[in-house]
């Protein structure tokens, strides 16, 4: 089937099998940041924004995105300038192997759009569906709190 969606701000016409997952479609389209960690909705490595809300792309039918907005990590940061979440992840050692990073950043974007002043507990709750095997979550949580603080400062 053929349909349109807005991918990282650009309207695209895409082709997909009716039973295809959004994850498979996005990777096929070249969005390799969307990672396949389990293809089962547990690890969160495939998290993308669907109309601004973080979802497991492996759990969403590609066709469901028809007419909707999808955002992946490829669309983040403008013209070589990193988003605060990316910068904080780099600066605070939150990235080890980096495989979980895209999913965590996209999930964090959803959190911060709806809660610009999260507590540590709220950050952990928001990331409950993003597994990381390298960091023990310590520095990723710190990085998101730092990014939130930076974004609040920038908004003032």
């Amino acid at each position: 089937m053929t349909f349109d969606l807005v991918l990282n701000g650009l309207r695209r016409t895409v082709q997909a099998d009716p039973g295809e997952s959004l994850m498979d479609l996005l990777r096929r389209l070249g969005c390799k940041s969307v990672k396949n960690g389990c293809d089962d909705g547990y690890c969160g490595a495939c998290a993308v924004l669907l109309d601004g809300r973080a979802v497991n792309a492996c759990l969403v039918f590609a066709a469901r995105a028809a007419g909707h907005r999808v955002d992946t990590l490829e669309g983040l940061g403008r013209e070589g300038v990193l988003h605060p979440a990316q910068r904080a992840a780099l600066d605070l050692g939150a990235v080890q192997c980096g495989f979980c990073t895209p999913g965590i950043v996209m999930t964090a974007l959803d959190l911060l759009a709806h809660n610009p002043r999260p507590t540590e507990h709220e950050v952990r709750e928001a990331l409950a569906g993003n597994y990381c095997r390298c960091t023990g979550y310590v520095k990723p949580v710190e990085a998101i709190l730092a990014a939130a603080a930076q974004m609040r400062e920038a908004a003032e």
Partner: protein, 281 residues
């Protein structure tokens, strides 16, 4: 995981159209998060309900929740968060993950009819469902499962939660191994007291036994007609532990489930009682 063997993905614009499309080779899809993980044998067509005006959450005297409202929609609704000291949000916070809740719909979840924390609590709250199968009708959630309607073509359009008076309290809890986990067992309770502190109406629902949540009538009846004191709570918990259809599976043994049931029903009732006491302060 991408499904092979699907030949059509349809997005009807009206309820009638959607219902007409449902047959042995097609299945309704809300968020699709369950269908995509558990392919149904012989299904070649997916009927996405996303274009229907079913994504709403109205707070009137009770709540009317449209079938394609996501679990996050429910979790983030301030009225629902305040209802009965937040028992619904307390339960939803343990369901899946934020990522899952952003995509999964209440209708899709209820139609699946298994692995549920939501069903026990909604049963305890006497939830109703509105179905469309050519005509529209409303029935209790309990009857929906009792009549096997979740396996029928009937389209779930709305979930209703009745209003709760000042002498009603509810509680929910689940036992897991890690936080992001299906329950080893879950318990939902609701009690309504009269002016003299006597339990007039009680609901005790236990789920993941591993069967889908079901009311434990004997335990509830035991609570009714007396005060909500420690002894009567313990007795109700004891009855529940004895009568639930506990079975052994990969997650837990039957014996352990009964032990959890005894603890869970007791703790849930204590929690509900604490909420009632909290209101009087």
């Amino acid at each position: 995981m991408s499904l092979t063997g699907i030949t059509a993905y349809l997005q009807p614009g009206t309820l009638e159209e959607a219902y007409r499309l449902l047959d042995e080779r097609s299945i309704a899809v809300g968020g699709g998060t369950d269908v995509i993980r558990h392919p149904h044998v012989g299904v070649t067509t997916l009927v996405d309900l996303g274009a229907l005006p079913l994504r709403y959450l109205r707070h009137e005297s009770g709540f009317a929740i449209g079938a394609t409202a996501t679990l996050s929609d429910m979790l983030e609704h301030p009225g629902l968060a305040a209802h009965l000291e937040g028992v619904v949000t307390e339960m939803l916070r343990g369901v899946g993950s934020p990522l899952l809740r952003n995509a999964a719909t209440i209708g899709g979840h209820l139609a699946r009819g298994r692995y549920s924390d939501i069903v026990p609590l909604l049963l305890a709250l006497d939830a109703t469902l509105t179905l469309f199968d050519g005509t529209e009708r409303t029935l209790s959630l309990a009857d929906y499962y009792r009549e096997g309607l979740h396996r029928s073509r009937a389209l779930l359009t709305e979930v209703g939660l009745p209003p709760a008076g000042p002498d009603t309290a509810a509680a929910f809890l689940k036992f897991t191994r890690v936080a992001y986990d299906f329950a080893l067992l879950n318990c939902a309770v609701r009690v309504r007291l009269n002016g003299k502190g006597v339990v007039e109406e009680a609901r005790v629902v236990v789920g993941e036994t591993p069967a889908l949540g079901a009311p434990v009538e004997a335990a509830a009846q035991n609570l009714e007609g007396g005060p909500l004191d420690d002894d009567r709570i313990a007795a109700a918990a004891e009855i529940a532990a004895a009568v639930i259809p506990a079975q052994h599976d990969q997650r837990a043994s039957a014996e352990y489930r009964r032990a959890l049931c005894r603890v869970g029903v007791r703790r849930a009732l204590f929690h509900a009682r604490g909420r009632l006491e909290g209101r009087r302060l």
